[in-house]
């Protein structure tokens, strides 16, 4: 399984990787990006099975990243998990409408990420 993590904080990327490694039983290969533009470029060159993204990033933010992925025939449909400090209900509804599969609020832990993965899997099946 290949997962792209887009977050401008190396600390956040590392912490999210650790949580995902605990929550996912199969081998995971991680791709990383410091902003939405870098994530989009890397995903176009090497599609992933899932995107985990922050919202508040320089250059290209997470909201625009999700919008561009949803508009891309190549990337549209990729499961998207948003992990953000700005995750209130209004923002969550907007992101789900835009194409995110699940929105989690920082700080996360392996349990909340595991629940998020379950929600993503359930959404994919329905």
């Amino acid at each position: 399984m290949k997962i792209m993590i887009a977050d401008d904080s190396g600390t956040a990327r590392m912490f999210i990787k650790q949580c995902l490694e605990i929550s996912i039983e199969e081998d995971v290969e991680f791709l990383e990006a410091e902003n939405g533009k870098e994530a989009l470029e890397k995903l176009k060159a090497e599609p992933a099975d899932m995107l985990v993204t922050d919202l508040n990033m320089p250059v290209l933010d997470g909201r625009e990243l999700i919008r561009r992925i949803s508009a891309s025939p190549k990337l549209n449909g990729m499961p998207i998990m948003v992990i953000t400090s700005s995750g209130n209900q209004a923002r969550q509804d907007e992101l789900l409408e835009m194409g995110a599969g699940v929105v989690l609020r920082k700080p996360v832990n392996p349990m909340t990420i595991g629940e998020g993965l379950d929600q993503l899997a359930a959404g994919k099946e329905s």
């Binding site: 508040n56 995750g87 700080p107 832990n109």
Partner: protein, 157 residues
């Protein structure tokens, strides 16, 4: 300009600090009296996070170097040194401030109103007496494993 009740900020800050520090570093920070003067005898990391919506404000985190090293080590599960890890330390503290700001606003705003955060900035201040950048902010002191640190809140930017 909207003025937020200081008691409400203090209560929300306490919840946010508990949530962030306990989740990320598995430690417990306790609020202490704000009449205690903050005079660390070492450099401090000052991290600030702008808030753009629903009103302009600034959240700050002031932490002595030794505590920041310990906290980062606990979060990232390895030893940190100033010689090798100053940049990464700043990233750790920036991410903490980011989570602190998000958690604070989640607890502060009624009805889960929308909010917008800026990008955090972190720097080391060697001489705290040389000018406290947060001197006009409301200060909320905490204690973590016997050492004092501050969170700050100011409206406007």
């Amino acid at each position: 300009m909207t003025t937020i009740n200081v008691e409400e900020v203090a209560e929300a800050m306490q919840k946010a600090i508990s949530e962030v520090i306990e989740n990320m570093a598995f430690m417990e920070a306790m609020p202490i009296s704000n009449t205690v003067e903050y005079t660390p005898n070492e450099p401090v990391f000052y991290t600030r996070l702008p808030i753009y919506k629903p009103y302009p404000a600034m959240v700050g985190l002031v932490m002595p170097q030794s505590m920041a090293l310990h906290l980062a080590g606990s979060m990232m599960m390895r030893d940190f040194t100033m010689e090798n890890d100053e940049f990464e330390m700043m990233d750790v503290l920036s991410e903490l401030a980011n989570m602190l700001g998000g958690s604070l606003l989640t607890h502060l705003l009624p009805n889960m109103d929308s909010f917008e955060l800026g990008l955090p900035e972190c720097r080391v201040i060697s001489d705290i007496e040389g000018g406290k950048e947060w001197e006009n902010a409301t200060v909320f002191p905490y204690e973590l494993e016997g050492t004092m640190f501050l969170t700050t809140w100011s409206e406007g930017q």
